[in-house]
Amino acid sequence: MPRISGTHVGTGPDGAEIYRPIIVVSIEIGGLLIRVPAIVDSGADNTLVPEPFVAPLGVDFARLPVGPGGVGPGGGLDARPCQGTMRWEKEKSLLMTRFLVAEPGKGPESVLLGRADFFRLYIPRFHWHKNPPVFDLDPVARNG
């Protein structure tokens, strides 16, 4: 599998450059498709999708079934299950057909790829000691 460069997202308050382990995924719902950034996040229990990413695909958060909720660095939030196809386009791989959507106005600014689903398909290895940082995503199927 290729090594992937960290995505440069800016300069922090202390002047340090910030990179994140981002891949581009597609989300398809009802025949509509959008591409969005997704952070490989070992701290996330489940994959979480910001509401603004699925709203253009016709998803009305208020009509989604009540979900488990969740807690992140920004506090508690309502997270509801949504049916949709998420793929990692570069590798042409199907990641999941169901994910949680964060309530409008709360949650992350990118998709968070969590341990319960994404991490069952790929084994991440972060090389944040390198400059710029890079990461590997090896398929579980090839590594046992």
Partner: protein, 76 residues
């Protein structure tokens, strides 16, 4: 192991091209529609950015909310 790691460094790929990343960070807090190689539209809302990309003929743009690192390290 070291050889494999060096080979991987040689095969490095970018999910978003570096030049596009550097363009994006000039617009913290904005919503941007882009392709892997080109910024298409910079707007205040995701709906506006998405609509602008569609108007430009991009069927399925990447919709990106530029982080504002001045607010801290959290992605929330």
């Amino acid at each position: 192991m070291v050889v494999e790691s060096r080979k991987r460094d040689e095969d490095l790929v970018h999910e978003i091209e570096p030049a596009v990343q550097e363009e994006l960070i000039k617009h913290p807090g904005k919503w941007v529609a882009l392709t892997r190689t080109q910024v298409i539209a910079i707007r205040e809302t995701p709906a506006d950015a998405y609509a602008a990309a569609r108007l430009a003929g991009i069927e399925s743009p990447i919709l990106y909310h530029v982080p504002d690192p001045r607010l801290g390290y959290s992605y929330f």
